[in-house]
Symmetry: D2
Subunit: 343 residues, 4 copies
């Protein structure tokens, strides 16, 4: 379905080259101070323009259509829309004949029988992560206020995602060269995003189906281009011994949690038995390299019934993972705002 | 919540040391041939007794309580229960005072305020994967029948998960020695399970929230002890170039799909844009080492208010990942039976 | 929640005096011929202007924002919005001090703590039934096409709701006089709508929670101002004997169902055990009299802390039930489109 | 689906003549004092044996299978089962050939293709209201405790349903004679149940889809044999004027609410705009006459392909509505426990 969440519920709609894209958020409590300028910072982080991203820039101005009255949320569904301004008339019919490798052209065609909007990826477009970022801003506000209130201001919610690897390179000083090289080859790069969430109280989540990892991974794998999600030590945990991986308890806590008994280490990424343990949540998300590349690919032409050579035209991100940390944060916040509402 | 799925819906209940554990499955179509003996093979694969698993063995006999009449499903909720036979009276109060590192003792205590059933992990116990395996058997039946019917018997559903790594070792011939060494040290090992699902038609799943990866990862992270999930090339995809990772199309298909145009390679693990592309689904699941170890751990005693030394008593799996491939299959089948019902 | 349905899912958003109101419909299959003019007929039936309804008229022009490409649904979320044109700047703060009897002013204030948009009823406004009517048009299209396809054109879907009583008067020739009299007194009238749905196949619905009556009544009681819902003989059934109320089977069927064995009578309203039986669905919905009346009412002024006299200003429907038959049809179609998708 | 509720979620399973029937309740908070004897009073009210009900009596002993530890709920799924003791081996195949008028035999056969368990109504049986009554007991406990806590004991939750009409007769002194007469004729009677719920705080429910009336009617129409549901003045409201039906506010409140501003009258049944207004909830439920009658009915024999005469054998309730007040209460409590959890 197109909706996620039990209490704080997020639905997205729209197509890359349609008139508007947007998000409806249900379950937002009344009285939250909210205006269009609140979205600027996170939307800006998602915007292209930097090295390794497409030079094509959209205005990305949020417009609140419902759910806010005199600067505060009303408790009724909150609708935020964005106009699509940078759309071009192009011949997209070719995408149905020669589906782009790595894209959803082929699967969308199977699923929707040719009726999908093929322009710019339609409803599958990464552009739909823009309303998700907007929902993330609302979720972060709710989390920050709830956590501050419940702890009398002692604990602060912080959600920080950052790119820790591009094309297998962890050393940030070498990224620019790698991006330049990939661009020269007409190729693309992937990346890994790490996210840390501080201030989440112990006790959120459920055993089994609604484990925190289940809910977070559900949302994270909804981001286009994600290939893997891991928590705490992640895949490395499978290569550790119990005595190395177990987080023993100490009364020393960790940063900002002194005095509180918490796991002394954080191999589990802040979650035991599907439930938050008071430690920061830590997880990593693997993004594939951009599928659209200038380099020629041998692929099948369904109309001609034979193999053909395809170069995907247009200005693409060399490494779209560069634009995803704020999307990862948004997804984490959307999930956690729902879980904290349920607690 | 304790329920998963939209059409084929699975709820589990029970505690490790309670009277019975069980599963209620809603949305099972009528007329499926089902008897208690159908569960034997998969239940046997989950059973302990092999090298590296606990010598404590339970009967694990499924009992169908509702939803089957004269050997066929009726279409009404299907309830399957298992008696807990191998329970021991023990003093579990200590688990609340000195929560076992890596277990849910601490988080359950926070969440349920001391009212949780602490015996043997209560509702958090890995024992609850037994009814999940039972639900998986039903899901596999539905998938096998549906796929066979829809393809006039040309395509067969196959779901195969196997352990590909123990303690970081991929070479199966060296596993026994590694397990022996860990046991001698009073320590434990993790492992990685790889699952391949054949026969799934193209077109299942949805863009964004209900992507196939979202649904599968949601279910897989519900298995106790999972630290990571990746599809296709997974984390390695983040280190590849677009020209290496993209799956181009050819009319040659892959095994069993000759004549059909499909991706020639399977770097994406059978999914594009959240939707199955006709290739086999391929994913890997990282399991942490068993949390219960005989080796001494320094941890906190909440009652005494000081650090203490803990050795977790009892007979535990050295590597519980050994028993999980059939659980991974069950989760995959549960998700896919739901998605195929929605298609 | 603000969403209804399992497969065909309808969410509404907006406020009476906000910028736009709208609906997002998820689960619409691709390939349905749909354009803005398709909505005209049903929207027109909901429009005011006739005897007994408010003279205030809005443009009510639907605008499809997403989910349609080149005249057909794409399978992605379908969003339809309507501009609010006939809004007036007014002082609504009084509604919080002196809540209008029969309206949601008081309860909204309790629930949303004063943050609700009070203008024109905000999100509670009957104006929100406009996007519901739009969703009903889509649902009717799906039902008509599905039923026609599945019966090779032999059976036609028809959904007809009509007002059968105004102010307790069943004789339509006497309604005008009753409306005139109520208007003269500054008072208002209620009414009863009866709906008949033909062509629904036997077998839809579920025992217990998802009985057809449960789903229909859920949607019908979501219409503002509904006080009662009854199926078939309804409340009169409670005064009948089993031998009078039971529908025995005959091979003669009823209109349009000759040759088929169906219940010969339709005391049950087309449903047995929560499941459709092939007979037309028949149900009645009771609407209260319009709450806004010009006549003086004694009520409480929360600001002044004393009783006061209130006359609700503005041009109101004398009998808003006159405008509801198409809303009742929309709700029925929304429910049935979801149930037929599940079958 | 077989599950109802968002936070407090109730699933039922089982068949009339199967081994056990039961209920799984998810979302029960930990720490509620609960034992099997708590169910006795309400189960007893549902039991047959009184004038007008079947002389066939079952033990109806609840057995808590999971979710309770040392006398308190644990927060994990609560499972309660009941053995079916009074089942008889009978030839039920005839129900498929000659479906009983008014029963689900015909519709179940269409829906489940002959695989349904036909014995005693299978999963459609009124016997399934027994686990619903058990869920109602838990819901009532939650409501009583929550309301008492939140009002420091000033307000008490009370939920009282009673039969107000049998066979159209409101005068209770005449019921026995009516029941005797119906029995003599081999016929059956319907009835009307009225339910009043006190102590519910203002502010529960949502506009539109999750109005209190929507949720309550959804649950009430899930009870087998319900033909109508109305709130407050109900169908009579459609015959009133606005000035008669509107509930004006006074500071006098009503019984037990002195000092609080509430609607002075209760024509709306305690709900405005889908949200509780602090007044008692009042609603009525119409039950049809028992479908099984000894009297001969002309109906169709599908096997013989001709009309036949049917007398439904067995000992049936003359008026099953006599046993439903406690079921109506259970449904109300299930809905309200969920809504109060969401508030």
């Amino acid at each position: 379905m197109n909706t996620f969440g039990r209490i704080f519920r997020v639905s997205i709609f729209g197509e890359s080259h349609g008139e508007e894209i947007g998000v409806v958020i249900d379950g937002v409590e009344p009285g939250i101070d909210l205006q269009e300028s609140d979205f600027a910072r996170d939307i800006d982080r998602r915007r292209s323009g930097a090295k390794g991203t497409t030079p094509r820039i959209e205005a990305d101005e949020p417009h609140i259509l419902s759910g806010v009255f005199e600067g505060h949320t009303t408790g009724a569904p909150l609708t935020i829309v964005f106009k699509n301004t940078n759309t071009r008339s192009q011949d997209y019919s070719k995408l149905i004949d020669v589906p782009r490798p790595g894209h959803a052209d082929f699967t969308a065609n199977v699923k929707y029988g040719g009726f999908q909007d093929p322009r710019g990826g339609g409803h599958f477009s990464g552009r739909l992560t823009l309303p998700l970022v907007a929902a993330g801003v609302v979720a972060k506000k709710i989390l920050a206020e709830t956590i501050s209130e419940e702890t009398n201001g002692h604990v602060q919610f912080r959600c920080n995602a950052r790119l820790v690897e591009i094309g297998g390179i962890a050393d940030e000083t070498r990224w620019e060269a790698a991006l330049d090289a990939a661009q020269k080859e007409g190729d693309s790069l992937g990346g890994i995003v790490e996210c840390t969430v501080d201030g989440i109280p112990a006790g959120l989540g459920e055993p089994f189906w609604d484990s925190v990892e289940s809910r977070l991974s559900h949302a994270l794998f909804a981001i286009p281009g994600v290939r893997g999600v891991e928590f705490g030590d992640g895949f490395a945990a499978a290569r550790m011994k119990g005595s190395e991986h177990n987080d023993c308890f100490t009364p020393d806590g960790i940063d900002g949690h002194e005095g509180l008994v918490t796991p002394a280490t954080n191999h589990a990424g802040g979650i035991n038995g599907g439930i938050t343990n008071g430690n920061p949540l830590v997880f990593r998300v693997a993004f594939k390299p951009t599928s659209s590349i200038a380099k020629a690919q041998r692929t099948f032409d369904f109309a001609a019934g034979e193999m053909t050579e395809l170069r995907v035209p247009g200005r693409h991100d060399i490494c779209f993972a560069l634009r995803t940390p704020v999307v990862v944060e948004a997804m984490a916040a959307i999930v956690l705002a729902d879980l904290i509402d349920l607690a």
